[in-house]
């Protein structure tokens, strides 16, 4: 049984309330931080912990915090990225819904470290009911003095607010999120300047994922060095994995980084194997944008070593034979799954979600969807596989934000590992009914 630091109390009745959360040791990190630590000491602990951003990019959190500019007289902000939208990812929703105070506590402790008097939790609009749960938790925290003026009798005052989005995947990109928080379209900004220098309303801002901020709580409580003892190498601590697809036990699992992929898929503690006695065909290990891998490469690296649930092991072999841990959105597909059609759902997704700012992404995602549709309606030719490869290669690295890469990578990986499926469809003109997809955008005409 692995150690759990984030959702160990998720089954405790009433854990969503302040009373029960507090009775289980909640808000201890705020007490410890405000009463016995200087803000920079907390950043040091986060650095020592080796915590890496849990939203997908995996950037070291302590380093991100240390970049925050601190000019005199200019407010600084902490913004929580709760715009969880990467297909296959639902861990943040689980955490916020079950244990909302875990995020609020992390927001307060982190804001103290960063010197932020105000913080915002930007949550995707579809999670409106989760925003209600957070708002109720925030109201409890204010009433009990964990938020507001002079928390615990110290000089530290803090306000935390929830803002709901309007339905746009792109707002998970941190600068698009800030634009949206400012009441605008979610068009990513050109960097630099980075948010650490000019973020919300031009002020220095740290944007962190929900799980990252929640992880600050155990790090402060146990100390960065203790936290870093969990995991393997530079993949320290625990990670929430959203498991879905054709597995026996879909759900959110907290794992110690370093367990094997095989153990995660087949043990009863986690996914419990593939449903209906079927064989595993492929896995998207870290949310829709990371490369899909066939069974043999997800279970073992090209060198024949067992693949581990770590940042390094999953990316072993680069994109030729590896993938990424990403957001931890783990989608398993059984032997009957059409890789081409699954890819079509991703391509349609990215086309729908492209903000339209950069031509390679706006046009490229549309063309990829159109060409994949040809495979599904039986009109594709063998040369369409080459065309698809060509288009994806012309998006990567040519856009303001990483949505371009996110859209290109899954297409490249599907062709790299499952080219025979594309060719088979092109040769046999196999028809798959997709009639209703044509109506996708009619509603917004």
């Amino acid at each position: 049984m692995g150690r759990k630091l984030l959702i160990h109390n998720d089954k405790v009745p009433g854990i969503n309330t302040l009373e029960v959360y507090r009775a289980h040791g909640g808000y201890a990190s705020v007490e410890k931080a405000l009463k016995s630590m200087q803000p920079d000491q907390i950043t040091d602990e986060v650095k020592k912990s080796g915590l890496r951003g849990r939203g997908g990019a995996g950037f070291p959190t302590g380093m991100k915090w240390s970049f925050l500019a601190k000019p005199e007289g200019v407010p600084r902000y902490l913004v929580c990225n709760a715009d969880e939208s990467e297909p296959g990812t639902f861990k943040d929703r689980y955490l916020m819904e079950k244990i909302p105070h875990a995020l609020i506590e992390g927001m307060i402790t982190s804001s103290y470290a960063l010197g932020a008097k105000t913080s915002y939790i930007y949550i995707r609009g579809e999670y409106f009911y989760v925003a209600r749960i957070l708002e109720a938790a925030i109201a409890e925290a204010y009433a009990a003095g964990w938020l507001g003026k002079n928390i615990l009798g110290t000089d530290f005052s803090h306000d935390c607010y929830v803002q709901v989005g309007g339905g746009a995947y792109i707002c998970g990109e941190e600068t698009a999120l800030l634009e949206s928080l400012e009441g605008k379209r979610g068009n990513p900004r050109i960097k630099p300047p980075f948010p650490a220098v000019a973020g919300l309303w031009g002020c220095p801002t740290v944007v962190n994922n929900v799980e990252t901020i929640a992880a600050v709580v155990p790090i402060v409580n146990m100390g960065g060095e203790e936290y870093a003892k969990i995991g393997v190498g530079k993949s320290t601590g625990t990670k929430l994995i959203s498991a879905s697809g054709h597995i026996n036990k879909p759900g959110v699992y907290e794992i110690e980084l370093g367990i094997t992929v095989e153990d995660f898929i087949y043990s009863d503690e986690y996914c419990g194997g593939i449903r209906n006695g079927k064989k595993l065909k492929a896995v998207v290990a870290g949310g829709s944008s990371v490369p899909i891998l066939p069974t043999e490469l997800i279970l073992k690296t090209a060198k024949g070593e067992p693949r581990l649930m770590t940042y390094e092991s999953l990316s072993d072999g680069g994109f030729q034979t590896g993938t990424m841990l990403g957001s931890g959105g783990f989608i398993a597909m059984d032997e009957d799954t059409s890789i081409v059609k699954n890819l079509f759902t991703f391509a349609r997704f990215y086309h729908h979600e492209s903000c339209g700012q950069c031509s390679p992404c706006r046009e490229g995602t549309g063309w990829m969807e159109k060409i994949l549709k040809k495979f599904l309606n039986g009109t594709a030719t063998e040369s369409d596989v080459e065309l698809l490869w060509d288009i994806q290669s012309k998006i990567e690295g040519k856009t303001i934000c990483p949505l371009g890469e996110a859209a290109a990578w899954p297409v490249a990986a599907a062709i790299r590992h499952f080219k025979h499926e594309f060719l088979e469809i092109a040769r046999n003109k196999k028809f798959v009914d997709i009639s209703h997809y044509d109506r996708l955008n009619l509603i917004r005409a």
Binding site: G88, G167, G183, G329, H436, R439
Partner: protein, 193 residues
């Protein structure tokens, strides 16, 4: 000024004059605005548009957008450019209950297409259409973060997960019996797992 807001729709001055938040909605709007520095009230745009959509019939008419612009002290086009960017804002009238069926990977792997077809047949409408009685609209949505409980549909604030045909029957029956407008801002969300 309002006639510039939305080329496709005629701007109705009388309707605009009648577009005013109820006291309760106005209180909510003022609370939202208080979350931002006074010179940054444009930031309240997205949440205020949600309140407006719920308050004025489940969609954002040119008159509604013009009214929101006046509250946030911005130009009407600034409201329209936001409303037209995000998928949750409806720019035309919708049914009282908008059913949004997720169709991305994990939901597709678990039969989302069958759910869509079943609802289309049951309500005798296609995706993008509204039933004649104005009760239901059917939409497809991209990943709603319910992959572990797929397939799923969202209606207003409520998440209906692990869908089966029987569950869909019950959900539709319940909403029809209730007969009220369902919005993202509803406090009485009724999730089913």
């Amino acid at each position: 000024m309002g006639s510039q807001v939305h080329g496709a729709q005629k701007f109705d001055e009388a309707k605009r004059a009648a577009t005013v938040f109820s006291d309760e909605a106005m209180k909510t709007v003022q609370t939202i605005i208080s979350h931002y520095p006074p010179e940054r009230i444009k930031s309240a745009m997205l949440p205020v548009l949600h309140v407006a959509q719920a308050e004025f019939g489940g969609w954002l008419s040119p008159e509604t957008m013009d009214y929101v612009a006046s509250i946030l002290k911005v130009k009407p086009v600034e409201v329209f450019e936001v409303a037209s960017f995000y998928t949750m804002y409806n720019l035309k009238p919708m049914g009282k209950c908008v059913l949004e069926v997720c169709q991305t990977s994990s939901c597709w792997l678990n039969g989302a297409e069958d759910i869509v077809k079943y609802i289309e047949k049951k309500l005798n409408i296609k995706v993008g259409e509204t039933t004649k009685d104005g009760m239901f609209s059917l939409k497809v949505a991209e990943c709603l973060g319910s992959c572990g409980t797929a397939p799923m549909l969202q209606c207003g604030a409520s998440y209906h997960e692990n869908l089966t045909y029987e569950k869909v029957d019950k959900i539709l029956d319940d909403y029809r019996a209730e007969g009220k407008l369902r919005s993202y801002t509803d406090l009485d969300y009724k999730n089913t797992l």
